[in-house]
């Protein structure tokens, strides 16, 4: 892990009606880190991801990615800069096959236009072959290569989550945001996922921000952890430190 700051959110605030979903939150994520974002249900974790990826505009505050202010950028621009995410409420392209789902995510790394695509002119055929191969490799990586031609909506819950990760990796991001990747998985799958996340971080040189409910998984996996409660950042630091923080214990046992 280096000291370079990949992601910084500064005084991020987002209000829905009278509710502060995210309230003046600031933190920095360093290159190569696995950064955990935890907190009770409704604490504002997913909203933080939506603010970072341009899907929800903040009321106050800024988001910096590698030093560049990306606060007012559109989601597709942010994806092109190298930030990929998965969704808590899985958002695959359900009618398409697993392979097509991953191939679509190669969009920003290909450039053939309509004419090249329709008439099979260069670089379309080469690109097509390359993205198909790349997509198969990624499916292989998440263990879904055997079902490459199956419609995404027919996958089991856990497999859909893995497919979403493969799709996100196809963007070749530098920063990967995973929103509750272990939700719906059993104990074995959870520990396998933990190893998997570590492995992809090495293999793809990723910085990862991870939202997770399951505390043991977060404690074992994350380098640092931020704890949200009612939209506010109540603790930030190494897992051991956060675990013993009275405010965190209070938030988790409070109700």
């Amino acid at each position: 892990m280096s000291d370079e700051v990949v992601l910084e959110v500064r005084n991020l605030t987002c209000r829905f009606g009278g509710l502060y979903a995210v309230d003046n939150v600031s933190f920095q994520v360093r290159r190569g880190e696995i950064f955990g974002l935890i907190g009770p249900n409704g604490a504002g974790k997913t909203t933080v991801f939506n603010l970072i990826t341009g899907m929800t505009p903040p009321m106050h505050g800024e988001v910096f990615y590698k030093g560049v202010n990306i606060t007012s950028k559109r989601p597709h621009e942010i994806a092109m800069l190298g930030i990929a995410r998965t969704f808590q409420n899985i958002r695959l392209f359900g009618a398409l096959t697993a392979l097509e789902n991953v191939m679509i995510a190669r969009h920003i790394h290909t450039r053939s236009g309509m004419i090249e695509g329709v008439f099979g002119l260069p670089p379309a055929p080469q690109e097509e072959r390359a993205i198909r191969q790349r997509a198969m490799e990624l499916l292989e990586l998440v263990g879904l290569a055997d079902s490459a031609e199956m419609q995404a909506r027919n996958f089991s819950y856990g497999d859909q989550r893995r497919l979403e990760i493969a799709r996100a990796l196809a963007l070749e991001p530098e920063l990967l945001l995973l929103d509750e990747p272990a939700a719906g998985m059993n104990q074995n799958e959870k520990s396998a996922l933990s190893a998997f996340i570590r492995r992809v971080r090495e293999q793809f040189n990723l910085t990862i921000v991870l939202i997770e409910h399951y505390v043991p998984l977060v404690m074992g996996l994350c380098d640092r952890i931020a704890v949200l409660n009612f939209g506010q950042l109540i603790a930030l630091g190494a897992p051991e430190k956060v675990q013993n923080d009275p405010a965190v214990i209070e938030a988790y046992l409070g109700d």
Binding site: T53, M55, R74, P75, H76, A79, M80, A84, R85, F87, R91, L92, F93, G94, A95, L96, E100, M103, I104, A105, H107, I108, T110, S112, G113, M114, E116, G117, V118, F119, G120, A124, E127, E128, D146, S147, E149, M150, R153, N154, F155, S156, Y157, D159, Q160, R167, L171
Partner: protein, 327 residues
Amino acid sequence: MEGFLSTYGSAIVQMALAGVLALSLYLPLMAGQLSLASPGFYAVGGYVAALLSTRVFTGFPNGSYPILLIALEMVVAGGVSALFALIIGIPSLRLRGVYLALATIAFVEVLRVFALNQPWLGGAVGIYNIPQPFFSATRVEYLLLALPLLLVSTLFVARLERSRIGRAFVALREDELAASAMGIRPTYYKVLAFTIGAVLAGMTGALNAHILNTWNPRQGTFDLAILILAYVLVGGSRTFLGPVIGGAFLVALPEIILREVADAPGLHPAIATFLRDGRLILFGVLIAVSVFFFPYGLVTPNLFKRRRKTNVPRLEAAKAAPKVSRG
């Protein structure tokens, strides 16, 4: 065959054109946009051809108007329609679902009223005596232009569907937010799909102006929008074949199939009369029934996939079988 062609020649030409119009609605739908603007572009295309052939390319004796000039008019009509599409697409494609459908219907209606009030477009009477390249009562010769238009459009959309751009369209249709998180620019691809659709509709209008011999504000109205929508919904909205087959089938059904059945010997006269006169009722019922029972239309991509699956060895097939499906 001769007899069939001379009886149904113009119906066959209209089957081909219906397929192209259906594709023009299918394209924005591929990108998740329910646009009913196709009749508007179709009307624009028709006027472009009517004006060019009666005001600009004059001096050809009727019956010998060059086919190549019609092709040229179709290209110009496609270009003009594309311009219109860009102008109205960029603001209106921010709208969603029913709102976009309403906005595009408004566009169709505005064009109609505009044409009605423009002397240079012939007002309510329109532009008539559009020159003919053929002497023929049935106009079956127009297949020389209609079939290539259908074939080229179909191939274009078929190829597009399997390309990077087509996949971006479909990603937007499936989940716009997820697509944008994959770096796909929603507005750009929506406008692109809408514009390609407009080009197809404009070209169809240009050709049909010649076939009908006249063009007026009654061409390309709301009624046509509903018909085209039916072609796509009945035929299928998930593969390019759906609209093409839907268009051909729904034109053939009242114009050819029901008439032939009504003429069948031994049919009770009351049934025959109903088939002839009540065919629009049957048509409506058919649309309602097929949309209800086949939400994605009669022709779906799975139709082809299932056939392929049966070739997979048994073990493989068992492995590929869905594990647990989520609600």
